[in-house]
């Protein structure tokens, strides 16, 4: 149960020493209760008090790290069930399952997914290798997957096979997904020995709960919970209830990241796997395993994930600069808008649809939408002329027509004054009108 500020205050030294950086012990206790400060910030807490508080003020959902070096990923650590309540913290990871039969084609295929979208590299972070009973084939596949340089999920419940696979992959810190109610003691020993995160599964949610409690009793809190593959309905019910128990009902036993194996939930049905991956990206899958990830699947899924894991308080921004669209060169028309990613995407999409070459000039407008940026003084005649100077637009582009957003038509006069060589044209109010507008202009 979460402690109230007053309960915490009773355990502080009540000296108002300010060493924690807060004026009074009472104020400090309130901050701790809100989760704004860790209790350790107070240097004068007694060991007993820390022990009492440690459990109660610990984050509701643990964060665990899989992988090593550049390929290390943090999972979990979420504090809210809905992103509008604060933000989602650790974005979910996508994995592709490979088998001994398809490894030689599947690995090069998944490595092809590697592109950038709004300053983020999009690629398949994880490779899932499942043990199918043939140890030699399994280990061979693990070797091939390791060569791809991605972090592995070893889906293996046979301790002997798991040990050999871990020997091969130990430096890359794979996720060992394979503990169940009958083998958990041995699997726990292996995970501890190799210092890797252990994945748990059980036939139902009660079994998974008991298993998690057993592992915690053994001192292992480096866990991932597999939501199971008995049915789509159960997998979704489990993913939601696990996360909800931890974050809403303060049941820390379920305060761990989850793994959803969409490949097993809808074998051979990539469209259904795409639907599932989307569903679980919104609702509480920390790792989502697919049978295959081609561009057709990656383009919507990675875009969706990037959207959902955007901090609501920090809008996505694109880099200021000159974006030539439809093969625009120095003679093409210019249009300008703000650096708010959503605005950029909609405007550039409409311009692309028109087929007319346009140089889209994105200036720094604080990541706000057009009207907000204008109201905040981030989009003005001076901000635009400053951008023109800093980017040396006049040297790079010969055309002297600049289209400005319809919503800031009021800026036309001022921009004409600060950019006297340019002909300023006002675009429609809504992006929807861009295609017709550009076509009319070009004709």
């Amino acid at each position: 149960m979460a402690l109230k500020g007053l309960d915490i205050f009773k355990l502080t030294p009540k000296t108002n020493c300010k060493e924690c950086g807060i004026p009074t012990c009472m104020a400090f206790a309130m901050k701790v209760a809100q989760g704004a400060l860790p209790i350790e910030k107070c240097p004068h807490m007694s060991a007993d008090a820390l022990a009492t508080l440690g459990e109660a003020t610990a984050p509701p959902m643990k964060s665990v790290t899989i992988g090593a070096g550049d390929a290390a990923y943090k999972l979990g650590g979420e504090t809210v069930l809905f992103r509008h309540d604060k933000a989602f913290i650790s974005q979910n990871l996508y994995a592709v399952n490979i088998t001994p039969q398809n490894a030689d084609e599947a690995i090069p295929e998944l490595l092809k997914i590697d592109y950038e979208r709004i300053s983020e590299r999009m690629y398949v972070e994880l490779i899932n290798v499942a043990y199918g009973g043939d140890k030699a084939a399994f280990l061979e596949t693990v070797k091939k997957a390791l060569a791809a340089g991605r972090t592995l999920i070893l889906e293996v419940g046979d301790p002997a096979a798991a040990r050999e696979a871990l020997e091969l992959a130990k430096d890359q810190k794979p996720l060992l997904n394979g503990a169940n109610p009958s083998n958990y003691a041995e699997m726990n020993a292996l995970a501890t020995e190799f210092g890797v995160v252990l994945g748990l599964s059980a036939p139902d949610l009660d079994g998974l709960y008991d298993l998690t409690a057993e592992l915690e009793k053994l001192g292992n809190k480096n866990l991932v919970l597999d939501v199971g593959a008995s049915s789509i309905k159960d997998a979704f019910a489990n993913a939601v209830q696990i996360r909800r128990a931890a974050l809403k009902d303060s049941d820390r036993t379920f305060g761990y990241p989850s793994l959803v194996n969409a490949a097993k939930l809808a074998p051979g049905d990539l469209n259904m796997q795409t639907a599932l991956a989307s569903l679980f990206t919104l609702k509480y899958g920390s790792i989502i395993v697919m049978e295959k990830m081609g561009y057709a699947q990656a383009l919507p899924l990675y875009g969706l994930r990037q959207n959902i894991y955007t901090d609501p308080q920090k809008p996505m921004r694109v880099e200021p600069g000159i974006y030539p669209l439809n093969g625009a060169d120095e003679n093409a028309l210019c249009a300008t808008t703000v650096d708010f990613a959503l605005t950029y995407f909609i405007v550039s999409g409409e311009i692309e649809r028109s087929g007319i070459p346009v140089n889209l000039l994105i200036s720094d407008a604080g990541g706000y939408s057009v009207l907000t940026a204008w109201a905040a003084g981030k989009l003005s005649a001076s901000s635009i002329s400053r951008f023109f100077k800093e980017t040396a637009v006049d040297d790079k582009i010969k055309n002297r027509v600049l289209i400005i957003p319809g919503k800031v038509a009021v800026l036309k006069g001022e921009i004409e004054e600060s950019l006297p060589d340019w002909k300023i044209v006002v675009a429609p109010n809504e992006a929807m009108g861009i295609v017709k507008f550009l076509k009319d202009m070009a004709s």
Binding site: L276, A296, P300, R353
Partner: protein, 313 residues
């Protein structure tokens, strides 16, 4: 110690809105749990999937769509075929040609097309407008009159034209309306309040909260829908308790990922599968956020999304 389950069943619930007539009529809404949380309490009316085609016919530039509608030449035949699409619960005609900035088809002709479609379909009908506020106001009034007794859903009543559409469609001719706002909980609520002030009850109104394709500012769509559902159920806000419908196809099939030809991006592969995946991903996401109905185009998307819904119920 077994896991202690704490189901989130709310005292409030989403209002029920029925469209169509007879045994093929569909009811949207009615649940008292968060979207798709059928493990908390049974969801009596699972989310519905609609099949969209334009008044100029389906988009035959997409091979799978062309193949499905092969031989269906008149709009009536297209509408009939759409009803046979596996997984379809309703169909949706888009009056694209009515747009004054496009073909500007006269209202009488639009009404004739609507009549042809309404006669042909065996499933409930949802009609989407031209996206032009003035035209839609006049158009929907006439369509509502012509289709009296069919209990159709007329989408796109917006703040600027809701009065004309709502009064004609609901009060005069007994149709249902879609209250359309653009991804903002306050605007959605304001429009619902305005509609209710005309004396129109929630059982006649479905919300279109606005949408975007996955990757295109979808976080706003997800959070708006999350907040609307939270307000409706947890705070019992009866001005946000209408069921939600999301026309996914239009956005999903117009983003670069779906339309860029393979020649321009060889590594992306054929455009059709990209469009299908975008449509499926966006639809699954809006369902997770609270849509009671989605409108799609491609037979593969309709099959996958309706299967997803039935698996989750």
């Amino acid at each position: 110690m077994p896991f202690k389950r704490t189901p989130q069943q709310f005292a409030a619930s989403i209002k029920e809105v029925t469209i169509g007539t007879g045994d093929k009529a569909v009811t949207l809404g009615g649940e008292n749990v968060f979207p798709l949380y059928s493990f908390d309490a049974p969801i009596s009316n699972p989310p519905k999937v609609g099949v969209e085609f334009s008044d100029t016919g389906p988009d035959r530039s997409v091979p799978g769509i062309a193949a499905f509608y092969a031989g269906a030449d008149s709009l009536g035949d297209v509408a009939k075929r759409a009803c046979d699409m596996p997984g379809a619960d309703f169909v949706s005609l888009v009056l694209e040609s009515a747009d004054p900035n496009g073909d500007d088809m006269p209202i009488e002709e639009c009404v004739a097309l609507c009549r042809e479609v309404a006669e042909a379909v065996s499933l409930p009908l949802v009609i989407q407008g031209s996206k032009n506020v003035e035209k839609d106001a006049k158009l929907f009034e006439k369509v509502a009159e012509a289709l009296q007794g069919k209990n159709v859903l007329l989408m796109s009543a917006r703040e600027d034209n809701h009065k004309a559409i709502a009064v004609a469609a609901v009060m005069a001719y007994g149709q249902k309306i879609g209250a359309e706002s653009s991804v903002d909980i306050n605007l959605a609520k304001q429009l619902n309040v305005l509609v209710s002030q005309l004396g129109i009850g929630g059982e006649n109104v479905v919300m279109n909260l606005g949408t975007a394709a996955a990757g295109y500012g979808f976080e706003y769509v997800a959070s708006t829908m999350d907040r609307v559902r939270g307000a409706a159920l947890a705070q019992n806000d009866n001005m946000l308790q209408m069921p939600a419908i999301t026309p996914v196809a239009g956005d999903a099939w117009s983003v670069k990922e779906s339309v860029a030809p393979e020649e321009d991006f060889p590594e992306w592969g054929p455009a059709e599968q990209r469009g299908v995946s975008m449509e499926i991903s966006t639809a699954a996401s809006v369902l997770a956020a609270g849509a009671n109905a989605v409108i799609l185009r491609h037979p593969d998307s309709v099959a996958a999304v309706s299967k997803l819904v039935s698996e989750l119920m």
